[in-house]
């Protein structure tokens, strides 16, 4: 039984700069979302225990061919991707349609793991959308995955309660960031990553065209930052400021 992990290529937001309130996307390197790396780690740990292969699916610009190596180094066995420069900015509807088609190519797929939100948009829709498209049961906010024969036993952590749920495979599992600490690949794993099997298709090769965009963005600007940025030198000075701003003393 294989385990599929769906990952999203996103700009490395630590390197994003804002100019005149506009995000400057040029030259921002691409990477996978942090929680997607937790999803991958979960898959790799399960594979190490139960066997099978970890298949990474992803859709994005042509740089994905390079980005995917990160996932192969961190334990992915093979990849199926749509890499197309016209797919650099997919919305949730488009991503879901494409990923569902890629996942269908995996014959013996027991579970499909998603992170709860992408590093950039954090809408958290794609996992649920794919589950609906493939008519699979789903469980989200998962902090632990146990495979028990044909069944999955999952810990689902909501704001005010924790549920232990069971679901038959195949199923879609959407995980949170706190279920593991992703491994750091070794140099030899990084070197081997490029040689792992991969299948790459373009938008024209999809069986069904990707869904149309459902959203229009009217504006997307960073809020104005208007801070004093005064350097202070000591804790005494800090205490003085707390006093003048009225947070200590006097009351």
């Amino acid at each position: 039984m294989d385990i599929v992990v769906a990952m999203k290529q996103v700009p490395d937001l630590q390197q994003l700069r804002i100019r005149n309130r506009e995000p400057v996307m040029a030259d921002v390197p691409l990477t996978f979302g942090k929680i997607d790396k937790n999803a991958l780690e979960a898959a790799v740990l399960l594979k190490e225990e139960h066997g099978g292969e970890v298949v990474v699916v992803a859709a994005g610009s042509e740089e994905l061919e390079d980005t995917i190596k990160e996932a192969m180094a961190a334990g992915g066995d093979r990849s199926i991707m749509l890499a197309d420069d016209k797919a650099g900015d997919l919305d949730s509807a488009e991503s879901a349609e494409i990923l569902a088609q890629l996942i269908k190519q995996v014959d013996d797929c027991g579970l499909i793991i998603f992170g709860e939100g992408s590093g950039d948009n954090y809408s958290g829709q794609v996992g649920s959308r794919v589950a609906e498209k493939l008519d699979l049961p789903q469980v989200g906010s998962v902090t632990q995955i146990i495979i028990d024969g044909e069944k999955l036993r999952l810990t689902r952590s909501l704001e005010d309660s924790v549920e232990i749920v069971e679901v038959m495979m195949p199923a879609v599992v959407i995980v949170t960031a706190d279920l593991n600490e992703p491994r750091i690949p070794s140099v030899s794993q990084v070197l081997k990553a490029g040689r792992k099997p991969k299948e790459i298709i373009s938008l024209d090769e999809l069986e069904q065209p990707a869904a149309e965009k459902t959203l229009t963005t009217l504006s997307n600007l960073a809020p104005e930052v208007n801070r004093k940025r005064i350097t202070i030198k000591s804790v005494e000075e800090l205490v003085e400021i707390l006093k003048t701003e009225g947070f200590v003393g006097g009351n």
Partner: protein, 306 residues
């Protein structure tokens, strides 16, 4: 014009959704799942409530819940459905939009209408930017951030009707439910926050942070890794896009680099004081006062000096 349907299994959030729905639709409907009390309460806010009572319908089975909401939306002739952006609500959203053939905006913090169009305001690029977006499809799902709207007041004209739905055999089985010990702290309401991050060296210093927060009549809050990785503080204290969005009078931010996913949760503070041993940390850009120092030492001194 348009009918709007709202659903959240949390009554407080459903009440907020009703307020949001009233800004965009003419008739507001609500649907409840196996919760008589919630149905009564929502009806008292003046909306038409579809009350589903089907014991096999389990809230943990997202597909089944989405299918039930879908049927309720059809019945109410509602083209727009509002859900709450808590964990369960966001999970239902993806499934429901796919069933409805709808477009969706998640984590919407404000809604404007312009010539019949609904404009959702939400954080984008991890919180670095704020986007105004319009859903182009006729059917729409908006997932509204908790506390973005105040709960609806009592009002006349509400009603309640039993609504039966077709549910498939449940595919997700709950074997155990535990209440979480939820900390009652409300960092969004605090006027002063002492926010600690990965620069914090341990529990002893955390106790000093608590002491300092107390002396400032505030609360301790934290960056996400302190709750999810180190588990030193509870999730209820996390500031940021996947935590709380806070607007205190004063935020003292210590040992936090200022990644966008964090900063979005604190950038509306009136005054920001930062303590970081790296003068080039991005957080310094968005601070009023910057002290370049070891936060652990600073906390020790502050705890004595205040």
């Amino acid at each position: 014009m348009a009918n709007v349907l709202v659903f959240s299994d949390k009554t407080r959030l459903a009440a907020e959704l009703i307020t949001a729905a009233e800004t965009i639709g003419d008739a507001v409907w609500a649907v409840t799942v196996n919760d008589e009390m919630q149905a009564r309460e929502l009806a008292s806010y003046g909306v038409k409530v579809l009350k589903i009572d089907v014991p096999e319908l389990c809230l943990a089975d997202t597909a089944a819940v989405a299918a039930a909401i879908y049927q309720a939306a059809e019945h109410a002739a509602a083209d727009t459905v509002l859900l709450a952006a808590n964990r369960a609500g966001k999970e239902i959203a993806g499934r429901l939009v796919q069933m409805m053939g709808a477009g969706c905006l998640a984590d919407v913090k404000a809604v404007n209408t312009d010539k019949g169009e609904i404009i959702g305001v939400r954080n984008a690029l991890g919180g670095a930017t704020v986007a105004e977006q319009v859903i182009k499809t006729a059917k729409k799902v908006l997932v509204i951030s908790p506390k973005a709207f105040s709960p609806a007041p009592q009002g006349p004209g509400g009603s309640m009707e039993d609504f039966s739905v077709n549910v498939k055999t449940p595919r997700v089985k709950v074997v155990e439910t535990r209440e979480k010990k939820v900390e009652s702290v409300d960092i969004e309401a605090a006027e002063v926050l002492v926010v600690v991050g990965q620069g914090l060296d341990g529990m002893e210093t955390l106790a000093q942070a608590e002491d300092v927060a107390q002396k400032l009549n505030g609360e301790v809050a934290c960056s996400k890794p302190l709750a999810t990785d180190k588990k030193w503080l509870s999730e209820a204290r996390v500031v940021g896009i996947s935590g709380k969005i806070c607007q205190p009078e004063l935020a003292v931010i210590m040992g936090i680099s200022g990644q966008v996913q964090f900063s979005v949760g604190i950038r509306d503070a009136k005054t920001i004081i930062t303590v970081n041993n790296d003068e080039n940390a991005p957080i310094c850009e968005m601070s009023d006062y910057i002290l370049t120092a070891d936060m652990n030492q600073v906390l020790a001194e502050l705890s004595k000096g205040l």
